[in-house]
Symmetry: C2
């Protein structure tokens, strides 16, 4: 009997989550899979029996290559939290029923923490109920790089490359006028500062780099921040600051709540949610005689496939393949992970690991990598990140723009 498989994508998209989908698809095909189904909008769509036959959309090897160069989740995504099997056994029996109707042998789920929890629950349910005809495997992805066990997550390298490359360009722009100006760039990462740490990569032979880097792993002190800016301004007119969207004050409030808690209600009576960068720009403008410029990388940092890392795309593809191979070998309840052999030269191994050790665990930037009183990251951090942004894989450019594939 041929192996039918189904694959889904879940959570926030990345620039390379489709490369993992391509890796699952192509490896499954090469290993002799039967039907290769894709869930529409993850487990949420599957529960409504929404799925596609992927071979109808990926007809040629070139289609697969375009998929690798298309950002965001080709199959659509969801933010569906699977209820526990105790609470909702009918959800689980329904999933199994749908999978069996399609003769699915292997179930793959590409996602972050919540998605790994889905794999954990499904594989545990299968084990408890003696369901041995279907395996459940996780494929990691998240720009946040906050998954445990794996050295890093696919999606992080490309986001980090976007951040460092764009910061280099912003710094060239920021120093152009002979005036005092503080540019504050807000970077994603609610609880883990991995992405913001990538701001350190901008510094080099041809770039001054950013002056200050604030991660959510450390308490943010507004007074110390202003003191620091004043100190730097003694020798430098233009300052660039990288700050995580998730930085918090000593009292536990997010920095951006300094604005929200004020009378910031717009003329529609709707509460204004200001970003961290604009809140801090406002603070600086009130304390220092200088121009300020807040910049938010927003969702662009997770979908700017046109400046993605070749290393990241290749690894995203491979880890999809690793999950397929392990599943076809009979494994279940596992996740494909990366194991760093060395940074110089960069040697990265892969293996599979128990999903229980990964689901619902959040990996933060190590304390000792945060230096200068919480305003920069160490050389060790830079050595860790640098290999992940190496190499370029450009989109196919058609009529001046990147070519994508969509359902």
């Amino acid at each position: 009997m041929s192996h039918n498989i189904i694959v889904g994508q879940s959570g926030g998209p990345t620039s390379v989550i489709n490369a993992s989908l391509a890796g699952v698809f192509k490896t499954a095909k090469e290993l002799g899979a039967g039907k290769i189904y894709g869930m529409r909008n993850g487990i949420e769509g599957l529960l409504n029996e929404q799925y596609i036959d992927m071979t109808e959309y990926l007809k040629t090897d070139m289609d697969v290559e375009i998929l690798k160069r298309t950002p965001s989740s080709f199959l659509g995504s969801c933010r569906f939290k699977l209820p526990s099997a105790q609470k909702s056994p009918e959800t689980y029996s329904k999933i199994i029923e749908i999978l069996r109707k399609l003769n699915i042998e292997h179930f793959f789920y590409i996602g972050g923490n919540d998605s790994m929890d889905t794999i954990k629950q499904l594989s545990a349910y299968a084990k408890e109920n003696n369901i041995t005809d279907i395996t459940f495997m996780g494929v990691p992805k998240t720009i946040d790089n906050d998954l445990a066990v794996t050295d890093h997550t696919p999606g992080y390298g490309s986001a980090a490359k976007y951040i460092a490359a764009t910061l280099k360009e912003i710094i060239r722009d920021a120093v152009v006028q002979p005036i005092k100006i503080v540019t504050i760039v807000e970077i994603m990462g609610r609880n883990a500062g991995w992405l913001t740490a990538a701001a350190a990569l901008a510094k080099g032979e041809d770039c001054e780099g950013v002056d200050l880097i604030y991660l959510p792993e450390r308490v943010f002190d507004t007074d110390k921040f202003i003191d620091k800016l004043n100190e730097i301004m003694k020798t430098k007119q233009q300052i660039v600051v990288a700050v995580s969207e998730g930085v918090k004050l000593a009292d536990g409030r997010y920095v951006c709540e300094l604005s929200d808690s004020s009378k910031a209600v717009d003329s529609f009576g709707h509460k204004q949610l200001s970003g961290t960068a604009s809140t801090l720009a406002s603070l600086v403008a009130s304390k220092i005689d200088c121009k300020t410029r807040p910049i938010e990388f927003s969702t662009i940092q997770r979908c700017a496939n046109h400046i993605s890392s070749l290393t990241d795309i290749n690894e995203a593809f491979i880890i999809g393949g690793v999950a397929v191979k392990a599943a076809f070998d009979g494994q279940t309840g596992k996740v494909g992970v990366f194991n760093r052999v060395s940074s110089k030269p960069y040697i990265m191994g892969t293996s599979i690991y128990d999903v229980d050790a990964i689901a619902n665990v959040e990996k933060k930037v190590p304390d000792e990598w945060i230096i200068n009183d919480g305003t920069y990251v160490s050389q060790e951090a830079i050595d860790y990140m640098k290999p992940l942004i190496q190499g370029e894989m450009l989109p196919y450019m058609v009529d001046g723009l990147p070519r994508h594939i969509k359902l």
Copy 2:
């Protein structure tokens, strides 16, 4: 006697303003210039006798190529408005004195409207005072594309390409969750909608495109906007809107003032300046049951050299050379401009034109190019823009990041 020249950059930077600088430098060298000086921070630096010998920084042809791939103004910029010669004759005599001290024969200024005014004033002053040993030439640049006479301005094509390419990526990201969501993208352009019009380029064989485009050339009506969204939402859950930062209400206020005029004062007592996108997102959230996401392209759209248009870079280089050739031929008080011969195929001529006809004139998007009750742009507009974003010239990538050159 050899021709000594001096060149400056002024106003807001672009991705390709250094390509024009490279064009001036290389053409002057090839035409036998003597010294090639660069003003530090434009006319403001020159008045303080701050200039460099460019050959000390651009030693090889490769240096010139890196310059073409470096965003923002290599020489630094300024926002210095030259006072009139009647008001401040000493400013003019000082400039002439500094230029004569350096034996300058040709003065080049790369910039937008204000910079062309500088050329206009200096050349008029020279004429009135019988100064015949120095010529003054303008080289156009501005992402805003709002200069008169010239078909388009260098810098516009690359910004338009960034906008269209990034919107394609944002659209893929915006449609990923099975929920109602309105994404609002704010694009530069206070009075002219050229950049926002480029959002129309995102639509194509592989992309739904943006749903609505609002230019500052038309009055913005908040009620009609909400009606339009409700109408689209009948058939489509995810909507993407492109809006110019400069859109105004019927009463003349900027849309973003709908927030500013409210009680939006943060806890530092500083007035919050909200953007147009976040103001509109707030409006939508208060009127429609959906998620909203404001995105501001901010300064990134003018410095994202890594996704610049080859056509734009080449034209920016050429128009620098055109100005040099004309100056060496004895012209003064002129600007290099583009004359479109045809769009299909794209044939673009160049010529030089009287600076008086260009300085201080603002070119807007033609009324007939704005269609669908002010919510989109016409095929004519698309045909005009499309050739300007063609081709790629990547930065030299070193260690995973674009290599730049700086002073």
